[in-house]
Amino acid sequence: MMANFVNMQVQGQVYYTKNGRIVFFSKTILENISAENNQVISIINIQTGEVRFSLLNRAFHFPKAKMEDDFNESYMESDRWPRSTFNGNIENSGNINFEDDGNHSVTVTGELTIHGVTRKIVIPGNIIIKDGKISASAAFKVLIKDFNIKIPSIVSNKIAEGVEVTVECLYQKK
C-alpha cells in the first residue's frame, strides 16, 4: 500500500539514466591521466528539483591497467567504499519549464561522497530539454585531499591535487 502511494506521487516527475557518463582528468607536467565511467545512475525529480548520482568506483576505466589497479586498491580503496554518490538539489528548479524545449544554466547544491568522506558542494551546470528528454552537463574540480585520498610520494608528481570532473547524462522519463 505504502509503495503504491509513493509511486503515484512520483508519476510523471522522475527522469533517470543508468548509463550516465562521468570523466575525471588529472593534468601534471609529467603525465595526463583520465578515466571514464559510463555506468552512472542518475535520477532527477522535476517537481522537487532533487538530483542524485551514484556510481561504482571500479567502473572507472583507465587506459593503463596498473593505473586502474592503483586507483581501486590504493587511492579509492574501492573494496571498502565501492560507490561515490551525490545527493542534491537544482536551485530554483521551479523556474524551469520542463514541458518545453529549452536550454537552462543551473546551480546544483548538494553533498558529494567519495572515499567515505562527504562534503557540501555547489556547482554550475546546464540542463537542455529537447523532445521530451532531459540532458544535463556539469564540470567542476575536486581536490583529492578533501576526500582523504592519499597518493604515495613516489607517484605524487604524476597526479594533480585538483582533478577536473565532467558529467554528461541523458535522462528518460520513468
Binding site: 522522475v14 548509463n19 550516465g20 559510463n38 555506468q39 545512475i41 525529480n45 532533487e50 551514484s54 556510481l55
Partner: protein, 122 residues
C-alpha cells in the same frame, strides 16, 4: 618498470568466465544478504539472457539491457565493440567484467542495475 606501467588490461575474450543467467546474477547481487557475490564481482562472467533493449551511451557505445525478474531493472552490459548482430528479443551470451550492483532509489521507484562492462558477445 616500463612493463609494469604499461601492462595491458586483461584479455577478456581468452579468459575463463563464470557462466550465469542474467536473472540469477541480478538476484544474487541486488540482494544484500547474498553470500555468493564474491563469485561474480570483479570477475569475468559469461551472462546469458534475453535482450530487453539496446541503447547507446554518451560515448556512442552500445549497451545491451538483459531482462531480469524486476521491472525497470536489468543486467546492464556495455559492449567493447558495437555490433549489428544483436536485436531486441534475442537470447545472447555476453562475456565481460562484472562490476556489481549499483543501487537505485527506492523513494523515486527506480531499482538499480547490475553492471557488466567491456563485453564481447559469444
Amino acid at each position: 618498470m616500463y612493463l609494469i606501467w604499461n601492462r595491458p588490461h586483461q584479455d577478456i575474450r581468452n579468459s575463463k568466465a563464470v557462466e550465469v543467467t542474467a536473472i540469477t546474477l541480478y538476484h544474487a547481487l541486488a540482494n544484500d544478504s547474498s553470500n555468493i557475490k564474491k563469485t561474480y564481482i570483479n570477475r569475468i562472467v559469461a551472462v546469458s539472457g534475453e535482450v530487453k533493449r539496446i541503447i547507446q551511451n554518451r560515448q556512442k557505445q552500445q549497451v545491451i539491457l538483459l531482462k531480469t525478474n524486476t521491472e525497470h531493472a536489468s543486467v546492464n552490459c556495455t559492449l567493447e565493440e558495437n555490433t549489428k548482430n544483436i536485436r531486441e528479443g534475442d537470447i545472447v551470451i555476453l562475456k565481460g567484467v562484472c562490476m556489481g550492483y549499483s543501487g537505485g532509489d527506492v523513494t523515486m521507484g527506480i531499482p538499480g542495475d547490475v553492471y557488466v562492462i567491456r563485453c564481447y558477445p559469444l
